[in-house]
């Protein structure tokens, strides 16, 4: 089931993505999918990023660590062995091929829960989060405050 089209406030900047896969891991609606992107190589990205290998010590369940002899696939970048690459990217090792990163599968599936934005360490995702609950929004309109369902610790209150 899908809700209204073209209303979500989800914004995704692929150029900030390092391919850690957290967004795909947390999204309960399957908005994000991890893809091999061969078209746009943006080498500076990983050198400038404050945290170039988010998964080196902590592999994401979506990104298994390579076994010996395989291409080293760290932090979303596939590294190769060539001399030229070694000169170009001394810190990272050498890249070969494309970049693994998140792409938006279907924006209209988004329910603006905010799990992806909260768990994206690289600031690639922004979304205006809030409760998708009519009662809460009407409450907010009447009281002029934040939309709440009145669920707090008040016993007997109706929760949405």
């Amino acid at each position: 089931m899908k809700y209204l089209a073209n209303v979500t406030t989800l914004e995704y900047s692929p150029d900030k993505c390092v391919g850690c896969g957290r967004c795909a891991e947390v999204c309960p609606r399957g908005v994000f999918v991890m893809q091999e992107d061969n078209s746009t190589l943006t080498p500076d990205r990983h050198i400038d990023s404050p945290h170039p290998f988010p998964n080196e010590n902590s592999p994401s369940p979506l990104l298994p660590l390579p076994s010996e002899g395989e291409d080293k696939r760290r932090g979303g970048v596939i590294f190769g062995e060539g001399q030229r690459e070694r000169e170009l990217y001394p810190r990272e090792g050498i890249r070969k091929g494309g970049v693994r990163r998140a792409s938006v599968n279907d924006k209209d599936l988004c329910l603006e829960c905010g799990a992806c934005a909260l768990n994206c360490e690289f600031g690639a995702i922004a979304v205006n989060t809030g409760v998708g609950c009519a009662a809460a929004l009407i409450n907010g309109m009447i009281t002029g405050g934040e939309p709440t369902c009145g669920c707090d610790s008040t016993p007997g209150s109706v929760c949405c």
Partner: protein
Amino acid sequence: MQKLKIVTKSQLDSGSSCCGPAQSTGAPSSRDVARNMLSCSDANRSAPRWITGTLPSPAGAVPQISTVWTRCDYWGMIKSRSGGYRMRYTVAPGLYAVGAPGNDSDVLVTANYKLTFDTVRRELTGLTAWVLVLDTKSINVWCAAGKGTFSTDELVKRITEARLDAVVKHRRVIVPQLGAVGVNAAEVMKRTGFRVSFGPVEARDIPEYIRAGYKKTKAMSTMKFTLLDRLVLTPMEINPAMKKFPWVAAGIFLIFGIQPTGLLFKEAWSNGLPFLLLGLLSVFTGALVTPALLPFVPFRSFAVKGWIMGALSVFIATQYIGSTEVQNPVLLAAAYLFFPALSSYIALQFTGATTFTGMSGVKKELKFGIPLYIGAVSLSLILMVVFKLREWSVL
């Protein structure tokens, strides 16, 4: 007199903590014991009945929990699904053991809403694991994460207080995926050294997720919203709507009963009854039928879905109600304006219970919906006035 006051006050006290453990003084009579057995109260027990023992750990004794539901767990589920009891249906936060876990066993994080906790422990049948319960104020993982009680701070606090670093030698915790709305995995890692893996959405997929080496399929990581999921949520839609229904009923009887000579109860009852039934039908159409048939009702907007079903139910009902009042064109027009709008409004409330509506969408619905509701209700009231004036031969 003084004594009477004390008794009244203690009664009030136990009333305010309704259904909580009653403070008993002295030895319980056999009647009290029998009542406790029936009421599922844990008041005269040293521990809740789902605790089966304790397990020593480097961080102290940890309560061991049963993975089997008793009659009381089912009864608690029914009570918490239907009303305010849910706000008191809670377990103490902290670390629990399923089976006899060791220092390499998995740690599963959950909320302290007892129904959530019960669902998790039931699904862990045959497994050994640690269960870390966060204090979410008796609210499920998804809602608590949205409200900020299932949070990074709370998880860090519970990991620290349970001395998890002493209990297990690995450094990973499995947090339910829906908790990701409130838990920042990178920050938990920074503050505790524990790496968060977001597990499956549903507790029933936990064994499969663990067996697959902490990998989840797409089905495990997306929220479903089945007919059963929707139906169990409808009592919480019907209850609040029915609480307001006496006002609608009073309005209907007032309109039909009022005459130049005063209020006529016979007229109010006989002429108002068909409309009262339409009102009841509209409430159930909005709160039960529309949620149940949600995927099959056309359009994505809940307001439109509710309106369509409301109009349909008024159409069908008026075919069977033979009363002359219902067949009156002015009243029929008023009914078509008012009742589908009522169903629509109630159906819109269900957005709060779904797993796929976002705030921007609901805001958009309200922006268009509220003026239309006000318009429809005003117009139907005007039509009622026209009807009354005609009835009194003024027009």
